[in-house]
Symmetry: none
Subunit: 163 residues, 2 copies
């Protein structure tokens, strides 16, 4: 497992660089790395860190993600059409907020499913085993409290006694 797909990332970089018709030293300067190192990267002799990769992407004016996917560092473009996936990918939320949001969403799904089964008899039997089946524990209610209170510090206790 020495060189899994390191070669492909190097080939990809070289391809992009030649397509842009710039030399190694030019790209190296633009990316802020040394030319010999870039040479080794392009031939798969070195496995560049994410930081370097990101700078190279900038120097090539291509998407960092494209490079990461090529490097096998991102599975594949995860479809953001899914609500849970989108919530998980959102960096503007705290971990606690994320978890609360996901649980609320799943509770909504469950609630809606129950309603649908009451009105129409054929229901989708999508059984997600993502999280627990229980209703929201009280700690999430505590997290929701800032809605009712004033703006400002929503305070959430994360302590758990049960073990």
């Amino acid at each position: 497992m020495a060189l899994p797909k390191v070669g492909s990332i190097g080939e990809y970089i070289r391809e992009q660089r030649q397509q842009a018709k710039i030399s190694m030293r030019q790209l190296a300067a633009a990316a802020g790395v040394s030319n010999p190192y870039l040479s080794q990267i392009e031939r798969g002799l070195r496995k560049p860190s994410a930081e370097i990769l990101n700078q190279i992407a900038k120097g090539l004016h291509i998407s960092s993600q494209a490079l990461y996917v090529q490097a096998g560092l991102i599975e594949d473009r995860e479809p953001p059409s899914d609500v849970i996936t989108a919530i998980r990918a959102d960096t503007h939320l705290s971990g606690r907020q994320r978890q609360v949001l996901i649980d609320i969403y799943e509770s909504f799904r469950k609630e809606k499913r129950a309603e649908d089964e009451q009105t129409s008899q054929n229901a989708h039997l999508r059984h997600d085993s993502e999280s627990g089946d229980e209703p929201l524990p009280e700690e999430y209610l505590a997290a929701l409290e800032p809605f009712a209170a004033s703006t400002g510090n929503g305070t959430a206790n994360q302590e758990t006694k049960e073990g």
Copy 2:
């Protein structure tokens, strides 16, 4: 301006790990890295390579992209409101649920922003053109009622971020 906050990636990982209620050794095993190294990463003493970062993301069951963005390795030019798009596109939600979920999400965004700005004091609250500045009105709390299986005490405290 190499990296705004290298430590933030470690804090983010630790946050996510504690959110998932797993130990360092568990996550380390799941991610295929050593526990001491994970410890150093979480405290910002080491700068993990993209490969390690990707494995940690897998071990945490979170999006690799989220982690890369936190690490400052991907520009955050991704549409930050993918969550809203996903919610709107979800056919398994009722219209009311959809609206509530979106409002909660936006409140979380606002809350988080306030928290982040509280740390750095020179911050103005600029009001969005989208919705008001108020927290969620009580009608949304009513919508959240199904969660209230057990009415817990409201005491909540922000997670400890002591060194």
